[in-house]
Subunit: 167 residues, 2 copies
DNA sequence: TTGGAATGTCAACAAGGCTGACATAAAATC
DNA sequence: GATTTTATGTCAGCCTTGTTGACATTCCAA
């Protein structure tokens, strides 16, 4: 009796489908758990998840341009702009006009922005670490491997550029 | 030099924080990849992700009541009702008045509902299987373990009841 | 110098969350 | 039998975060 669902690529279609259902559900619930704590914290500041994402990626790629951020986040500039404007108004993000190209805005977190971002990361990190502690080191390694394989290849490339190649 | 980020619970705070950042990003991008294909398919039918979730859980727990579904999905009845109404109107979901308790509506997928749900599951499953094939069997086992550890304990309990205990 | 890309902004709209208030029917309780 | 509680649905209105379309500005490049 095969139970992994991975090796049973053919043969037991129904059981495999049900196994995938369970993974889908786990993914749904896990993502909810993953965002629950930051969401609560953001709400206290009058922000939403979109603000968190912007803060996160500006922190990760300081000096990045709006266009680059659009590319990573995969939303329209109008949508991002609304979020970015409130963050700039509230003094969490600094948008500097580019030296070379004055159409570009280079984005940086202010001290206040870094603080909020760190607080958000911290509660999210605590939840992750708690889960990691329960699951064990080997499981975590596998977890990361599967996550990376699930990403859109294009996005994955851009993500690596941001994470390592600097802008 | 520790690189796992799990065992380094203390000592190298900064490196650990950056490791968690990477996991957060991977989680964000992976979830996007996870929902991208069904989202596209749903859009063609004029539906959204909320419809998918309703279809999925009605399929998984046929005959479930509205209240139970609210519990699992964690949304308000107004929000669910909007979705459920369109699904019933479009003939994808059947809402039967309860025999024992006639206040309750027991929800079932119609044949058309089962069909759409299967199509959605299929594209999502293909994406999952593709990632699983790349990552390998051991990684997948770890992946599932971590996902379950990330879920809210309360939700996890209810989830297991639905998945196994029947309603 | 002029056309086209990059950027930002305004307006309007949709999905899908939310709250609050209220109606109905049925079950449960007193 | 009357009252309360429960399950569900519905109306109205709000918020966040997506979307398009239109348009101004700025700059680069032909």
């Amino acid at each position: 009796m095969k139970t992994t669902g991975v090796s049973a690529a053919h043969g037991d279609g129904l059981a495999e489908r049900e196994a995938l259902h369970r993974v889908s559900e786990a993914m749904f619930f896990a993502y909810r758990g993953f965002t629950a704590d930051p969401d609560r914290m953001l709400q206290e500041h009058g922000y939403g998840r979109a603000h968190h994402r912007a803060l996160h990626f500006i922190h990760r790629a300081p000096g990045t341009t709006v266009n680059n951020l659009l590319d990573i986040l995969g939303v329209t500039k109008q949508s991002l702009n609304r979020v970015l404007r409130t963050l700039v108004e509230d003094g969490l993000v600094d948008a500097r006009v580019g030296d070379r190209d004055r159409r570009e805005r280079h984005l940086h977190l202010t001290v206040a922005g870094e603080t909020l971002n760190r607080d958000l990361s911290e509660v999210q990190g605590e939840r992750l670490n708690a889960a990691f502690a329960i699951a064990g080191e080997d499981a975590v390694t596998g977890f990361k491997t599967v996550l990376e394989a699930m990403m859109d290849p294009d996005l994955r490339r851009r993500f690596i550029e941001v994470a390592e190649g600097r802008k």
